[in-house]
């Protein structure tokens, strides 16, 4: 293992790789900082460029980018009361109120320092848990992977979104899109409507760029065009007082980090869900719950740690099973698969240095966050003043070129547009899009493993559950489905005032957006 770590260090600490990580970090900071541009949009725009890179710098860039973007979303939250990414929405009120009380540098400092702490905690869990789980997953065959993928998708659609019915529909839509083309076990073209460009299926990058970049541009165009005036910043020292806070509220730091990591592991729920739940938990366990919302640091500490911890947690199922823990890892897995590096226990066995390289990048990115984040805070006034009416068309142009660059065809740009419009309409009508993304990425995995399992068992469906691990996974899957279906039936048949709580409707979406 030590050898593999040394190799990983050699892989990472090369000038070109480090430069890529640095550029990706700055890109992530800038995009995360600007409201209306999300972390997944940053990744969607950056990924076409990683197409031409080796897998390690590509994945390293994605890891660094996402970590930076999730932190940077806190900055406009503190300054403008507008979250830069949905992951920062949970504590935007407290952050803003602290700024108004003249404590902006403390709010920003908390967001920065505790993001780093949460991120490092999640990374540590990932580094310990992933190889151990992979060891266990070595005994997995096609049946177990089938159920694992189904379980992951079900969990993502039902649990991860908070809107089980629409989440399920979104999942089915995504799975259906993955059917298009010839890439199925029989090689027969499906749903291509006679269009030759569709023979190899709907390409992932244009869909992703459409879903996360074009839909945001459409959202901007259809929204109110107000550009908030950025207040003049007179920041004191940002890192002052952080140690005192950590000592005063160790429970929140730990609870936030743990909760964030666990939610990250759960497929489909990511940084924003982590932040909401950590905030709610902090409020419940606080000695001064009435102060939440008035500019109180406790919520920031817990939630700031949670959303960065979730990023690392999400990589655990992604690396070990190839099942994404959130939208970021969904995209990363897509990228890895395109480069022929299928995640799964095999990599741990055959090329562990690649996995350790990912771990190291996480550590590196979280440490880099301190100086780079500090610099971003200082530069934020300028960045936040970039006029949106100039920025958004540029984003669209980058999206177009990115979608084209993957396969050098403008047909992909059309795919991007269709995906963007559909994703926009879906989200406007309350359908989460993360399950659709997961469906598109994992659909082939489910079908391939199913067919292989059927071949092995000669078409006998019992073959799906006659191995112990498979039977357990199948039971859990069925139990989750039954829970939600029965719950839905119960609420439909029993007369009851249906009320969505504030928490439900605000903590609406899925993985990170």
């Amino acid at each position: 293992m030590f050898d593999a770590y040394l190799q990983a260090v050699a892989l990472i600490f090369q000038p070109s790789v480090l430069m890529t990580i640095l550029i990706a970090s700055v890109f992530g900071l800038v995009v995360g900082c600007i409201p209306g541009l999300t972390a997944t949009m940053a990744i969607a725009l950056f990924v076409p460029m990683t197409f031409y890179m080796d897998p390690i710098p590509a994945v390293g860039a994605i890891v660094a980018l996402s970590a930076m973007a999730i932190f940077a979303g806190d900055i406009p939250g503190c300054l403008l009361r507008i979250p830069g990414t949905p992951a920062s929405a949970a504590y935007v009120d407290d952050a803003y109120e602290m700024s108004r009380k003249g404590q902006a540098e403390m709010a920003l400092g908390i967001c920065l320092v505790f993001s780093v702490i949460g991120g490092l905690f999640g990374t540590a869990v990932m580094m310990l848990a992933a190889p151990a789980i992979a060891e266990f997953a070595l005994s997995f065959g096609s049946v177990e992977f089938f159920w694992m993928a189904v379980l992951g998708l079900i969990a993502a659609a039902f649990i991860g979104t908070g809107r089980p019915l629409k989440g399920a529909i979104s999942l089915v839509i995504g799975l259906s899109i993955s059917l298009i083309g010839m890439n199925n076990p029989t090689g027969l073209p499906r749903f291509t409507f006679g269009v030759p460009d569709l023979l190899s299926g709907v390409s992932l990058i244009p869909v992703m760029v459409g879903m996360f970049a074009v839909s945001e541009v459409l959202r901007y165009m259809t929204g109110s065009q107000r550009q908030a005036a950025v207040p003049k910043l007179n920041l004191g020292p940002i890192f002052a007082g952080m140690w005192r806070l950590a000592v005063k509220y160790p429970g929140h730091v730990i609870r936030g980090s743990v909760l964030g990591t666990v939610i990250g592991i759960q497929p489909g729920s990511g940084a924003d869900m982590a932040a909401w739940m950590a905030y709610a938990t902090a409020k419940k366990t606080s000695k001064e719950p009435e102060k939440f919302g008035t500019g109180h640091p406790e919520g920031l500490i817990a939630a700031g740690a949670a959303n960065n911890a979730s990023l690392a947690g999400a990589w655990i199922p992604a690396l070990v099973f190839g099942i994404p823990g959130d939208s970021v890892t969904a995209i990363a897995i897509g990228v890895l698969m395109m480069k022929g590096m299928d995640p799964g226990p095999a990599i741990f066995l055959n090329a562990p240095q690649n996995i350790y390289a990912v771990f190291l990048v996480f550590v590196l990115a979280n440490l880099l966050m301190l100086p780079l984040g500090w610099a971003m805070i200082k530069a934020s006034t300028r960045v936040l003043s970039i006029p949106k009416n100039v920025l958004m068309p540029i984003i669209l142009l980058m999206a177009i070129v990115g979608a084209y660059a993957a396969n050098n065809t403008f047909f992909d740009v059309t795919i991007m547009l269709v995906a963007g419009v559909i994703a926009f309409l879906m989200e406007e009508n309350g359908f989460p899009i993360a399950p659709a993304l997961l469906g598109i990425i994992l659909g082939p995995m489910i079908e391939d493993n199913f067919v292989n399992s059927m071949i092995k068992s000669d078409g006998n469906l019992i073959g799906l559950i006659d191995r112990p691990i498979a039977a357990v996974l199948a039971t859990i899957t069925v139990a989750i489905i039954a829970w939600f279906v029965l719950g839905g039936l119960r609420s439909a048949l029993l007369p009851r005032k249906t009320q969505t709580t504030n928490e439900d409707s605000r903590a609406s979406n899925h993985g990170i957006r």
């Binding site: 460029m49 019915l165 089915v172 259906s176 029989t186 499906r190 540029i394 669209l396 177009i400 309409l425």
Partner: protein
């Protein structure tokens, strides 16, 4: 742009039925027990069932059938929104003969001007941005973008 849940559900229901019909026609040329139509049929059934549930759940819901938000109120903002899909479609149609650089400049310029950027700075920014983006992708990543009208001066 919000549509009543039952309408959305109804649309998805029709899509599900169409999917079932389309998968029924898929032949199974292999010896595999479950052919290419199996998975699509399962998904079709799931889609029909879940969208039916959605329709039933939302039939009485107090939700407007169809709402267009603020942006539909003024022709300018409608243009701004429609420019995205229409602009992209026109771009894809004409980028071959016109070329990436001229086409992108035109698209950016149009989007800037419709969104209240003054024409002269709009043109300047459009040209500068397109040249930068083109260079990143063409010079930096070797992505071949069509030259079109600029073919005689390609670099």
């Amino acid at each position: 742009m919000k549509i009543h849940d039952s309408l959305f559900g109804g649309l998805l229901l029709l899509v599900g039925i169409a999917m079932w019909l389309a998968s029924d026609n898929l032949p199974n040329p292999t010896m595999q027990p479950y052919g290419p139509g199996f998975f699509p049929k399962i998904l079709a059934v799931l889609l029909v069932v879940t969208s039916a549930v959605l329709v039933v759940k939302s039939i009485g819901a107090a939700q407007p059938l169809f709402t267009l938000d603020q942006w539909a109120r003024s022709p300018r903002s409608v243009l701004r929104v429609l420019l995205v899909p229409i602009g992209i479609i026109l771009f894809v149609m004409f980028v071959g003969p016109v070329g990436f650089i001229p086409g992108s400049v035109a698209l950016l310029f149009a989007m800037f001007v419709v969104d209240d950027v003054r024409p002269l700075p709009a043109l300047g920014i459009a040209i500068a941005v397109v040249l930068i983006v083109h260079s990143i992708f063409y010079l930096g990543l070797s992505v071949q973008l069509p030259w079109g009208l600029l073919q005689p001066v390609r670099w």
